[in-house]
């Protein structure tokens, strides 16, 4: 009896599911593109969130006082008095009257130089607040009243609400788009699993009739598509990281634009992508396989 053709002691059984190179290349591409888009969305979301937080922080850290001078008092004098009055308030780190030239410079782009000469320029005091424990508009108003300064205090609350609302919208939009992308990836994997089971119905039937449990067969498809998605995830995440790095390089150290401040740390955002893609694919393939098998004896 010759056992010459027998496998050696290190023999390991071959994979039970045949590879389908042609279908897998297409699937790799689709899943990689979805991962790429999801990663860009994640990076964009993180960046937008950072921008919104920065704007909110800036708004919370400042207040503006518009001063109306008393009779016989110049605007500059009134502004100086107001700055002095609020400078001692707890939660204020700095208060300074805005010089008339600076105020005009702020308005000039909107109104033009000629018009400015005929307009009463508001007398403003810019107040920097302690970020940890900022003074409230009420605190500032009380201090101004005590000093006999007729003024209005703007703590930017209205703008702050708008910024926070916008930031919330961006966060939800990113979460929804990310979920849609993941759902699309899951649907693609489910479709591929269904197609794979149909294409290898012979394999599934033989396994089934030879006594394989549903979980055994589901594991085969689950592992196949999890591996595929993980590899696709690496490519998609890599491409997204490359694009992020390019934007960071083009934008310089300060970020691409003030509206989308990126950092090198944002590259880490894409790192869970292969794992997430594999998990989504594994779940989708498993559930699809089990559902299809449940229809058999």
């Amino acid at each position: 009896m010759s056992l010459s053709d027998a496998p050696g002691p290190r023999w390991r059984p071959a994979p039970l599911l045949p590879r389908d190179e042609e279908r897998e290349v297409s699937l790799h591409f689709v899943v990689a593109v979805l991962c790429f888009l999801a990663c860009l969305m994640a990076v964009g979301g993180v960046s937008a969130d950072r921008a919104a937080r920065g704007w909110a922080r800036d708004l919370r850290g400042e207040a503006t006082i518009q001063v109306r001078p008393r009779l016989g008092e110049t605007g500059d004098e009134a502004a100086a008095r107001a700055a002095e009055a609020v400078a001692g308030v707890r939660g204020v780190t700095e208060a300074a009257a805005l010089e008339k030239q600076k105020a005009e410079a702020l308005l000039e782009p909107w109104l033009g130089k000629a018009v400015l000469q005929d307009l009463p320029i508001p007398h403003l005091v810019t107040v920097r607040l302690d970020r940890a424990h900022p003074a409230t508009a009420t605190d500032l108003k009380k201090a101004l009243d005590r000093a006999g300064v007729d003024a209005d205090v703007d703590d930017h609350a209205r703008w702050l609400k708008d910024v926070e609302r916008s930031a919330g919208v961006v966060r939800w939009a990113v979460a929804i788009l990310f979920s849609l992308t993941a759902a699309a990836a899951a649907a693609v994997i489910a479709f591929a699993t269904r197609a794979g089971m149909a294409a290898r119905r012979d394999v599934v039937e033989v396994l089934h009739l030879t006594g394989a449990k549903d979980a055994f067969i589901a594991n085969l498809f689950q592992l196949r598509f999890a591996r595929l998605a993980a590899v696709s995830g690496v490519f998609g995440a890599g491409a997204a990281a490359a694009v992020t790095a390019l934007i960071e390089l083009v934008g310089g150290g300060q970020g691409f634009t003030p509206a989308l401040p990126l950092t090198w740390m944002d590259l880490l955002t894409v790192s869970p992508c292969p794992l997430v893609a594999a998990t989504v694919a594994a779940l989708s393939a498993r559930l699809t396989t089990l559902r299809l098998l449940r229809g058999t004896l």
Binding site: M1, S2, A6, D202, T210, G211, A212
Partner: protein
Amino acid sequence: MSRQPTPRAAAAYGAEEAFDPTTGPVVRFQNVGMRYGRAPEVLKDVGFTLPVGSFHFLTGPSGAGKSSLLKLIYLANRASRGTVQLFGHDVERVARADLPYLRRRIGVVFQEYRLLDHLPAFDNVALPLRIAGRKPQTYRDDIAELLTWVGLGHKMQAMPATLSGGEKQRLAIARAVVTQPELLLADEPTGNIDPEMSLKILRLFVELNRMGTTVLIATHDQDLVGRAGMPVLHLNEGRLSRKATRRAPEPAAPDYGPELGPEYEPEPDEPELGYDLGDEEGEA
């Protein structure tokens, strides 16, 4: 592989009668009918039993329902009516999750082989053992020996597509018997192989039968049936119309070895064959 159902499976079966592994019956059909969709019944009022350790041929013309009957036994289809019991358990009452445990007790040689084309011969034979959770090291040598025995020792790494019809058939047989199943079903197992190899395969079946495996072989090969000298279940137009115990023709029979043919006699302790046929008809 355990030959007994798991405690969970046993509990789930809710068997009406206890299955005695020494007496069986392994298979019991009672008034079984089967149809595909809304088509007419392909099996009608079929009733029979296969005791433990029995060896039967299932014969009948094409379209008589032989393959359908086997499909009911290896749990590829459900009966439309009647009762099918396997190892003492009504298959209709067995939880779906426990059916794999029953299937693992049955070896099947499919008519169309059903080999996995992407796996080498060796891996095809290893399939039932992998499914049963055995470690590769524990069965590697057994498979090599079995493949050598069926004449495929030099083609263990060959892909099924490169094998001839007869080689595929032998590979399918090796896969069916590798677990030493309690029940072996074969659908035309000698359809594509030469007489010499047919006999060798039959000897393997007989050997397995002597070791306790219950065997049911569907075949058109009347010559093989005649020479084996085993009882016959005959299907005609979906009805199990007769039983017969054929004996090999004495004069012209070639020498098939001591186990078969004229010299073959059932073991003294072989269980009594039991039948539950409507209109039995003996045959010389």
